[in-house]
Amino acid sequence: MRAEVGLAATGDLVERLAGHQVIVCCGSGGVGKTTVSAALGVAIAAARDTPVLVLTIDPARRLATALGLGSIGTRPVTIPPARLRRAGVAPRGELAAAMLDAKSEWDRLVERHARSPQVRDRILANRFYQGISTAFAGSQEYVALEAVYDLHASGRYGCIVVDTPPSRSALDFLEAPDRLTDFVSARLLAWLAGPSRIGLRAMGFAATPFLRMADRLLGGEVLEELGAFVRDVEGLYEGVRPRAAAMYDLLRSPKTAFTIVTTLDPQPFAEAEFFCAKLREYSIPLRAVVVNRVLPDSLLEPGAVAAATTLAGDPGVAAWMSAELDEPVPPPVPRRLGQAFLALHALAARQVAQVGRLGGLGRVPVVRLPLADREISDLESLGQLARWLLDGVG
């Protein structure tokens, strides 16, 4: 793991990223993305004299508690500087955290863009609305963007670190504006929202096989009701479209830095590669890669492998240890120690095999964070991760 890719000093990463106003952390689920995002926020608050906000999507409860996020609602909560200092981080700027609440963000979107209070109330009360606002692919990503856009536009924070939703490819996050405009502008909707489908029938459209089939499948009542709903929702489009375009511009601009968080396990790593390709497709530059939970190089040392092999398999080793230490050492003890090392060695060797592929992600700073000695679930361990980001490891 000695082969360095990109910058060696992790502090450079924080310096580089701190220049951007929005930092989007992407990556597969289970790589510690939420934790790394939070640590990055802590590190930037320590490095720069600017208010920093960490916008997280679905933090583990203990991490949420550590950040002071008790209740739901996308309202930022400032972390008391004294708490940060106790956790070993001296903040120069303010650090706040917020947790995205997709449902209330959708309600806000409706309130903002509805043509009239009557339309707004009709939408919010519609029985399809719940389904639309939660089930539709990319909806969480879209409102996350809305929230980022608003928070950025408010000028309240110099830097916003965004933990993206744990969607498999994080692709939805990029396509979210397209999807929504696509959704609202679909010709299909125009069809459903037509003055009246009874009118359509009169014009002979009833003969079309799929209109007939849709009726048979779902029952006319449902389609009529959906049609009325769509007419109301359509009005949102006028407001949503320019906002979506502006959000997309913000994502593509140099104000925003995309960062990939991954581990060296084959599956998340493959997703990181896939995501890189997608960013290139969208002409969005990747600014940094954070490799989380890297095992130490010492696990690869040939001498240690030899020692572990002896411990695991040499039938006389327990007796020798007993004599050497002058205490009884039961045979399972050296066996467990040796086997544990060899298992970790196999993992570390597999990680090294992936390191060679890091360069393929792009010519960007790559930072490796070691596997922490315990699960990151409080401000203290988060502070340790932030110090690693700032000062480098070990």
Partner: protein
Amino acid sequence: MADLGRYGARGDVIESLLARRILFVTGKGGTGKTTIAAALALVAAASGRRVLCVDVDAKGDLARAFGAQPMGFEPRLVQTGVSALALLPEESLQEYLRIFFKLPRFARLTPLVRVLDFVAIGVPGTREMLTIGKIAYEERRREGERPAWDVIVVDGAATGHMLPQLQAARSMMDLTRGGMIHSQTEWVDRTLTDPQRTLLAICALPEEMPVVEAIELHDRARAEAHVAVGVCFLNATFPVPVTASDTAVLERLAAAHAPAAAARLGGDVRPVLEGAAIARRLHDDDRRQAGRLRARLGIPVLEVPRQFGTRPGLETTRAVAAALMTSPA
């Protein structure tokens, strides 16, 4: 779930799962649910069952887990005794219309797929119903005198999408009061909510979030979808239980006897000590999370050791299948 004794031997638990007609395997992304679903299918086939394995999100992971080419909508033999299929949206729809409504296959269904796609956005459960509809169809299909499949193992949606899928039939019954879909949903709902026929298996990792999600899904599956949860797989546990006293022995050796140890063991023991510390951390996480799951869920929690040194794909699937049949020491 009285027949799935909490302290029963591992083989009995697996056997009891595979005695069901449909087994949904779910879990947070990255918990290895595809590998576990594929491994369960191999175990079922090894006991002489005819198994169908279904890939719900059709991203090709299940095919890779069997070392097979990408799968289609029609079942295809991928391993001895195991057939597999992938649910593709357009084909699911074609098939659904053909099976349930005796409609001829359309050359191009894209416009209708788009209509239904939209409807699926507005009517929760439409898309899920197509998924569940196909699974339920395969469950009922017979070859001669006997069912076509002894057991169907579904590599299900990730946790967040699993409940809508399981509740699809009920949602559809509530929403589509007049349509033809309505009349098809009742028996699907009956199959899914019968614990003798359908069980859910939840996968977790020994980490905070996957465990929290597993517990939430367990509670909601019972309360909201009325689907019984049969087992929780705690995947990727560390296979060697290193204790604090083990580490202490090695510490004493490294501190006062380093040269002798290096000579006798053939190398430096200090990295082994470092490894022991990491192993302990991982083992402690395993114990804590397994304890939480066992205390909180009234179902068997089976630990599946992390696979070292096996290549992703069939090799790993086989190793996991072997681990499923072997009780830990």
